[in-house]
């Protein structure tokens, strides 16, 4: 049993961490609102069955959910701590919106999934869901939103595009069942590229080396055309996926967004049905998203196309700089723990808050800061960055003095 009172995989967000968290959140919210999206939030607890239908959460993820019988769980139906936000937002849409209505939604919320050891079990995400018939415009819009958020945070992000339909078509043509496809996909993403040779061996007429074509990262439309010309005859089913990706890639190039095409990209791809994208900063994946046209139907509301995107706040918080920490530059110190000094201190506090200023009342033994105001029954002593002390009688005049000093 661990000595810490904090469970493994859970983190405390300290003041510096929270400053970064809020910077990311603010940048994200500003960009989403600017693109016409509306904010939502879904419950922390959902029914397990929301996630168990084939095509929703992948088997790997289902094996990591925190599920339990609630206090009223005598029926035997389990609930989960939200392991994913896209599926709950799909439920929110299905239960609250007209079928087929275009909704542009965003959220900042956490997801909880078991992980081994100290690996994070609670992750915060900035997520966007675009539900309704908006494709392929929607896919492009989401990529540009993510790129703008990352740009605002001062990050130079590398964009990668893919479509799991390409590999799915190859694996299906090779005769693998869905569970086998999922297992093979994971092996490939774990670096076991020789799997692709086995796959190619089961498809007659592949001609071009499947392994080298699928495992490389290409540049835009030209690479997609090469891929299609090499595989179309043996795996004609890839044509649609390549065509969708070609549209997105072409437009991103036209608006000046550099990107790479990586056919092998997304884990847990069960619910993605079209183009997917990922964002990398210094080789670290900071966000991902894609199209999931079947999901709304699986939660009970017909076939409504949809795309989504999530930026990982924990990862982003580790790659953005510290920035300016929000905090109080002014310190008020009661001269003594007696009534008149404390009353003066709180009188000044009231004036400062009315003026919209931040401050901190000093605790016992706290060292003097850059701007310190000592409050007593006789008035206030203002010390500015080591300059000579200045006596001020009234609290309102202290506020004026701070303004004059540019604080």
């Amino acid at each position: 049993m661990s000595d810490s009172m904090r469970p493994p995989g859970m983190r405390d967000w300290l003041p510096d961490d929270m400053a970064r968290f809020r910077r990311i959140e603010q940048a994200f919210r500003d960009v989403c609102l600017g693109w016409g999206y509306e904010e939502v939030r879904t419950p922390t607890i959902e029914h397990l069955h929301l996630f168990t239908s084939a095509g929703t959460l992948s088997p790997q993820m289902l094996g990591r959910v925190y599920s339990f019988l609630d206090w009223d769980g005598w029926t035997g139906e389990r609930v989960v701590l939200r392991p994913d936000s896209t599926i709950p937002v799909a439920r929110l849409y299905a239960e609250n919106e007209d079928p087929g209505a275009v909704k542009k939604l965003f959220y900042v919320q956490n997801v909880l999934r078991f992980a081994q050891g100290d690996e994070s079990r609670e992750d915060w995400q900035c997520g966007v869901e675009l539900i309704g018939d908006m494709q392929p415009v929607g896919d492009i819009e989401l990529v540009l939103i993510a790129a703008e958020v990352l740009q605002r945070l001062g990050l130079d992000a590398r964009i990668k595009l893919s479509d799991p339909g390409i590999l799915r078509a190859v694996l299906s043509r090779a005769g693998y069942s869905l569970p086998e496809q999922l297992a093979l996909y994971d092996r490939v993403l774990d670096g076991e590229l020789s799997v692709l040779d086995e796959v190619a061996g089961r498809i007659s007429g592949t001609g071009a080396p499947v392994r080298s074509l699928l495992s490389m990262e290409g540049d835009g439309v030209a690479y997609l055309d090469n891929l299609l010309s090499a595989l179309r005859a043996a795996v004609p089913e890839i044509e649609r996926s390549v065509a969708d990706l070609r549209v997105v890639s072409g437009i991103l190039s036209e608006v000046g967004r550099e990107h790479a095409i990586a056919p092998l990209l997304v884990r847990n791809f069960e619910y993605y049905t079209g183009p997917v994208f990922e964002f990398y900063v210094d080789g670290v994946r900071v966000g991902s998203g894609g199209r999931y046209d079947s999901l709304i139907g699986l939660v009970g509301r017909g076939d409504v196309p949809a795309s989504g995107l999530a930026l990982e706040m924990d990862v982003l918080a580790s790659v953005i700089g510290d920035g300016a920490r929000q905090g109080a530059a002014v310190v008020i110190r009661p001269e003594a723990a007696e009534r008149a000094a404390m009353a003066a201190a709180f009188s000044l506090a009231g004036e400062l808050r009315s003026a919209g200023r931040a401050f901190r009342i000093a605790g016992a033994g706290e060292p003097a800061g850059g701007c310190e105001i000592v409050a007593s029954g006789e008035g206030f002593t203002l010390r500015l960055n080591g300059s000579a002390p200045r006596q001020i009688a009234r609290a309102a005049d202290v506020v004026s003095a701070l303004s004059e000093a540019g604080l």
Partner: protein, 472 residues
């Protein structure tokens, strides 16, 4: 000292044979000794404790024992929900082989696709974690697992659509009137080890001899079904029943319930002091009677599968401690089968109250209080309400008197006369409540016509029997 956990029950004779043939003679084990702690002839370095089989993986995972023998199915049952548990299956001892099967009722049909087409699927099992894993892997859209204390095969078709049960083979499953859907596991008795003990402790003097009995082959994995695609076709819910359904218990409560039924003037053919058939004939038009485990009755009544049931107050309160908003309530106290549910500690503990005991353990620097009980919900409620601070509730399936003090500080246990506690050098220090046999029903149940007449007749008769017993 190497600590070894061995199984009680059906697995005991074949495991005893394996041990003897490996040169490990556990005194009294094969002979069915009632002692929980046994010695090994000529081996002062070994200590053996006998547990109910399903408790053994928990004890090994906790590190209370270095080695254990139990059916692999109980290891897999625990690992299905807690895959990171530090248990290492060492070798298959070959004894006590059986399969764990998912099976459906004949009414539903013997294919997964038919199960998936139900509006909701009820799965009864005393392997609830394997049942969850099965339902999740099959991607059943809406299911609920009823964790039962045994006899899951008796639930279909009225009370479950599918089960996950142990059986010698598919024919044995079919003999229960069920259709096998999938074999999840081929199980037998395995030697298992705590991972940390295996890494650090000298266990070779036990593992070595037992390897002579080891069967070839690796550790079998749980086989799970492929996802069943949702075809969107849902069957209609079953027709609403018209008969009143009553559940009566088997096991140690049967004797008390038979007495109460006789006093109430109710006779169910096939249910008396000597007989217990699964579906006794009630002899009352519109009344169906079924025998189920008393622990499972509150949930079945809450679900509306039974209108009335006779169980112990301990089972009712256990259910309500886990699910406080459950609509089950006590209707009649039958005033029979009385016992106390108490917090029990070792006689050697210098404390007569729970407060003194807690103070003592804190002085000793215990980081966490281990609470063992067959009543997990009740034990957890007790630990919370008595402010035990940091505690672990350890589920146990029986042989409870042997847990304190080595494997737990506190036991939440039923006592009738206190004789068994004294024999095991234990003492009660706190009374949780007094349990008796009682009649339970569902709050807000709406019965009318003939159903209401039958319900009122049965309840009235039982109420008079309870009042008569109370006035003696």
């Amino acid at each position: 000292m190497i600590k070894i956990a061995l199984p009680a029950g059906d697995l005991r004779p074949p495991v005893a044979d394996v041990l003897i043939s490996s040169g490990l003679h556990v005194e009294g084990y094969g002979e069915g000794s009632r002692a929980y702690r046994l010695s090994v002839r000529g081996r002062d370095d070994l200590g053996v404790r006998v547990f109910r089989e399903r408790d053994i993986p928990i004890q090994i995972a906790l590190g209370n024992y270095d080695l254990g023998v139990c059916s692999l199915s109980w290891v897999k049952e625990m690992q299905a929900f807690f895959p990171a548990q530090p248990i290492v299956p060492v070798c298959d001892l070959g004894a006590g082989a059986f399969g764990v099967y998912a099976a459906s009722s004949i009414i539903v049909g013997g294919r997964l696709r038919e199960i998936a087409a139900l509006p909701s699927v009820r799965i009864a099992s005393d392997y609830p974690n394997l049942a969850e894993a099965f339902a999740m892997a099959a991607r059943l859209p809406r299911y609920r697992v009823q964790s039962v204390w045994g006899a899951a095969e008796a639930y279909p078709p009225e009370d479950a659509d599918a089960v996950v049960i142990a059986g010698a083979n598919e024919a044995a499953v079919r003999a229960h009137g069920l259709l096998p859907l999938h074999c999840l596991l081929q199980s037998s008795a395995w030697l298992i080890a705590n991972a940390a003990s295996l890494r650090r402790k000298e266990l070779a003097s036990v593992i070595g001899p037992l390897m002579s009995a080891a069967q070839p082959g690796g550790t079998p994995d749980v086989s799970l079904p492929a996802p069943v695609p949702s075809n969107g076709v849902r069957r209609d819910a079953a027709e609403e029943r018209t008969a009143v359904r009553m559940a009566i218990p088997d096991g140690h409560q049967q004797r008390h319930v038979v007495d109460a039924l006789v006093d109430a003037g109710l006779t169910f053919a096939g249910y008396d002091e000597t007989a217990c058939v699964r579906r006794p004939a009630s002899g009352i038009d519109g009344l169906e009677v079924k025998v189920v485990r008393p622990h499972d009755m509150p949930q079945l009544v809450a679900l509306g599968q039974f209108d009335i049931a006779i169980t112990g107050r301990d089972c009712l309160l256990e259910h309500l401690h886990r699910f406080p908003s459950s609509p089950v309530q006590e209707l009649v106290d039958l005033q029979r089968g009385q016992y106390n549910l108490s917090a029990v500690v070792t006689e050697d503990l210098p404390a007569d109250t729970i407060e003194d005991a807690l103070a003592h353990w804190r002085r000793e620097g215990k980081a966490s209080i281990r609470v063992a009980s067959e009543f997990m919900g009740t034990a957890d409620y007790y630990a919370r309400s008595r402010h035990l601070w940091r505690y672990q509730v350890m589920p146990i399936a029986g042989a409870s008197e042997g847990f304190v003090p080595e494997d737990a500080e506190l036991l939440i246990e039923g006592t009738e006369t206190g004789k068994t506690l004294r024999e095991n050098r234990l003492k009660p220090i706190d009374l949780l409540y007094r349990s008796t046999t009682c009649v339970i029903g569902r709050k807000g149940a709406t019965l009318d016509g003939q159903s209401k007449t039958v319900f009122d007749h049965v309840l009235g008769a039982l109420r008079r029997a309870g009042e008569a017993a109370g006035s003696v």
